[in-house]
Symmetry: C2
Subunit: 284 residues, 2 copies
Amino acid sequence: MNAARDACRVNGEPGTVAGIDDRGLRYGDGVFETLAIVGHQPQLWTRHLDRLETGCRRLGLPVPSRGRWQADLAALALPRFGTLRLTVTRGEGGRGYAPPTAPQTTTITQCGAVPERPDDWWQTGVAVRFCETRLAVQPALAGIKHLNRLEQVLARGEWSDPGTAEGVMEAMDGRIIEATSSNLIIDQGDHLCAPATDDCGVDGVMQGWLLDRAAASGASVKRTAVRRADLWQARGVMLVNSLVGLWPVRTLAGHPLPRSPWADRLQDELVRAGTALLPAVVRS
Amino acid sequence: MNAARDACRVNGEPGTVAGIDDRGLRYGDGVFETLAIVGHQPQLWTRHLDRLETGCRRLGLPVPSRGRWQADLAALALPRFGTLRLTVTRGEGGRGYAPPTAPQTTTITQCGAVPERPDDWWQTGVAVRFCETRLAVQPALAGIKHLNRLEQVLARGEWSDPGTAEGVMEAMDGRIIEATSSNLIIDQGDHLCAPATDDCGVDGVMQGWLLDRAAASGASVKRTAVRRADLWQARGVMLVNSLVGLWPVRTLAGHPLPRSPWADRLQDELVRAGTALLPAVVRS
C-alpha cells in the first residue's frame, strides 16, 4: 500500500485500508474533496465541506460531523504545504445496490505532497487539448463530487504528453463543461463566464471563490451554456482548481489564446490570500 | 468488516481489505461480475469472464489471467450454492485521474450466500415499478459492468417496500434500458426483444444466455430501442440476471401484465441446466 499510515485516518483512526465490502469500492457510492494545505491549514475549508455535505445529502448519505474532520486534522499534524483528500462512502451493508436504511459511513482523511508542475504553467500558461471522451448528462449527479469518476479517468488517459496540462471536456450535446480535474473561467471581455453545471460537471470550489473575488472587484459574472466558439472568441480562458489555483490557457488544441488580464489579477489574489499551491506561495 | 476472510481473496491471497489509494475506491476505476454458484461451480463462467475482459479492455486495464481466478476459486472451496463476485480495479498509482502507464491491478474474489427471495417471485411473478432516476447516455461506458454504479444505487434507493422486486430504468431520452440489477426480455408475440445497450446499460450475461437458448428453440430475437408502450403491449415481460435466473413481471407500476409462455420454458431450461439460483435448483 502506498498510503503512509501517519498521513491517513479511516473512521477517525490511523489506517490505510478499507473493507472490500465498502460501497465506495463496490459501487463508487460516496463523495470526496481535494483541498490545498497552506501554512498547515486546509484552504477554502468551509466551501469544501459545504460541497461535501451537499453531495452527501444528494446521495442520501448521513453527513459526517464537522468535528470528525477537525479531530482527524488535529491528529494528522498537517504539513506546511500539501494536499488533503476527504472521502465519505456509504460504508458496508445493504443488499446489492439497495442502500442500507441506517448506513455507517466510512470517512477517510489523507494528506499528500504538493504536486510538482512547471512554474511556466502559472506564468506563461498551459497547453490544453479537447478530450474525445464526453460527459454524460445526468442531473441526479451533476454539481457534486462523487466517486464515479470513470469519465475523467478515460479522458485523462487520452494523452500522456507531459507538455499538455489539461483536457477540456464537452457534454454529450457538445456544450463545454470543464477540464478533467479543473474548472473553466472564460473572460468574455464584458463579463466572466463559467459553464453551467445543472445537468453535468462538478461545481468548482476554487472557481466559486475566484468568481466571488472577481465580482467583489466589479466583474460581471454569468453561468451559461458554453460552446467551442465561445472559447475561440474569448479574451482569455483560465483553468482553476483548489490545488493549483489558476493557470491561464496559452494554447487550446494547438491554437494560441490571448491572456486575460484577469489571470494576473486573480493569481495575485490567490498569492495574497495564500489560498492555493502556486509557486509564489509554496516558495514563500 | 463484514467480509469473512475464508471467503475472500485479494490479489491471490486471503484478505478482506483494499488500500485507500486503490483507484477502485478513489474513482470507481474498475469492473466486476456477479455469478451464481451451483453444485460448487460458478455458472456461465466463460460468458462472465468474457464480459469482464471486454470491460478491462474498454477501460485500458490489463486483463488478469484466467489462471488467477481459477487459483482463487480452488483456494476458496466454493459452497454448493452461493454467489461469487469478481472485481478488477486499476490498483494504486497514477497522478490524479491519469492512469498509471503500467497499472498493477487489484483482483478481488468473494463468495457470498444465496440471496433469499419469496418463491412466489419465480412462480407467480414480481411487482415492478418505474424508477425516476434515469440512466445517462454514455457510449464510452455502455455494455460493460464497471464500478461507477451510483445511478443504480439512487434508483434502488427510491423504494423500500419489500413487495416491490425491481425498478425499470429509462435512459435520459425515455428509452427503456434495464432494471436496477436485472435485464429485460420482452415477449412481443412474434419475437423476443432485448433493449439495445449501445450507449447505455449493461450487456446482461444471463440475458444473452437465455436469448441464445430461445433462439436455439426457434424464437426470433431482436435488440432494439424499447419504449413504455412496448411493455404495455407485450405478451409478457421477464426480468433476468445471473443470480435469480428469470422472474416473470406480474405487475408493472401497479398494472397487471400477461405472463409470457416463454417464462416457463426458460425457467425449465434454467432448472434443467442448473444455471441460476432458482428455488427448484437450490432445493434439489
